[in-house]
Amino acid sequence: MQAVKRFINRMRSKSPWLLHFDCGSCNGCDIEILACLTPVYDVERFGIINVGNPFHADVLLVSGTVNHRNKKVLTNLHAQMPSPKLVVAIGACGLSGGIFREAYNVVGGIHKVLPVDVYVPGCPPKPEAIIDGVVLGLQKLQRLHEQPSVEKEA
């Protein structure tokens, strides 16, 4: 049983499919996220695919500040992803609201709306940092599943 669990965990960390949602970022972070998919970084080496579909995704990458308009879309996308799932907040705006945090329509960082697993700081973060964030998230997921008590709660 333990061996099967370990096998499933390994498969999960070997094929994380990404869903990328732009919550109104300036596109700086989005360009860096998409740069990961170019031949220079080629994240498909690690089985990472950018799927545009929450039903297929394992990791939700969110960039930009959450505002009152798009927080519903964001929670909806997160609800449509089958678990186990990860949320990675990208860039200064995703972490805290960035320079827009004082604006009247801004809710703040992603953590105000969703449970965030990994924060990737930077304005914008380097593609290497984004890949590192996803890898950290997968390690967290694996640790969570290795603890039996947490699994029961989940």
């Binding site: 499933i8 039903f55 297929h56 394992d58 089958p82």
Partner: protein
């Protein structure tokens, strides 16, 4: 009796294993053509294993039924192929699977899924007559629809049915979901329809459709192998060359619309098949 059981087991095991390996090779080749390194060879298996153990989110229970029907039909078609059954029977069983996948996509409310399903129906409409004509070509040459007699034919059928092999190439391109015919869904980065036909299949059911697709790929490569059935070496070269060409075509062409697909595939495909069939009839 035991021989039948062994052949059935072979079909059920060989389908997913070979299909997954072919799909892994496909992804590596595609990556190399785009000057990338690409995923490991076993990546398709990792993906399917992961999907099988994900939470099942179902938008409509009919979709679950359809996913199971699709995998049942495509695996039965491959098992019939291994049992050296009737080629026409295999084609119709495979067609049932293809239609069930479309029915599953239509049972959801997502517009992406619906448009993908309509396009898939048009794709089925494009390739199905051509596939039947290829089989008719086999019949005219060997006098039988049975696979046993086609495999036992004394000379390579490619020499007598060259145009029908090209027609089968078109069918293969549509069926493998390769450019320029990847209208309904596609293995590459997301398209205008998100994931088209497969948008609302998720988790374990997406894994089922992927395994069913592997069964279909192996079945079609099996039909390709009929064109050079006299020795293993020639058959292997033919299959590798055909698949390499498919990947090459996928990478050098762009997606077209369904009007173009229907007129082009029917125009070229039906003409080539008729020329070949008339030539066979005269000869």
């Amino acid at each position: 009796m035991t021989r039948t059981a062994i052949l059935i087991a072979c079909g059920l095991i060989a389908g997913p294993i070979l299909g997954g390996l072919v799909s892994g090779m496909d992804r590596i080749l595609t990556a190399r053509m785009q000057s990338r390194i690409g995923p490991p060879l076993l990546q398709p298996f990792y993906d399917v294993a992961k999907l099988l153990f994900k939470e099942s989110l179902v938008v409509n229970v009919w979709q679950v039924f359809c996913a199971y029907c699709y995998i049942a039909a495509s695996s039965i078609a491959l098992v019939l192929f291994f049992l050296q059954s009737d080629l026409l029977l295999i084609l119709f069983v495979q067609a049932v699977g293809a239609v069930m996948l479309v029915v599953g996509a239509l049972s959801s409310t997502s517009p992406y899924s619906h448009i993908g399903a309509h396009r898939e129906l048009l794709q089925i409409l494009s390739y199905e007559p051509l596939l039947v004509l290829v089989v008719v070509g086999f019949y005219l040459e060997t006098g039988s629809f049975k696979l046993t007699s086609i495999y036992a034919w004394r000379e390579p059928l490619l020499l007598k049915l060259p145009f029908l092999f090209i027609v089968l190439g078109y069918v293969l391109t549509i069926k493998l979901r390769k450019s320029p015919f990847d209208l309904s869904t596609c293995h590459h980065a997301h398209q205008e329809l998100v994931k088209g036909l497969l948008t609302d299949y998720s988790g374990p059911f997406l894994a089922l459709t992927e395994i069913a697709h592997w069964f279909e790929v192996i079945l079609l490569l099996g039909i390709c192998s009929l064109f050079w059935a006299t020795n293993w070496f020639g058959m292997a070269i033919l299959l590798v060359a055909t698949y390499f060409l498919e990947v090459l075509v996928d990478n050098i062409t762009s997606r077209m619309n369904w009007r173009w697909m229907l007129s082009y595939v029917w125009g070229v495909g039906l003409t080539l098949s008729l020329v070949n069939l008339i030539w066979l009839h005269q000869g």
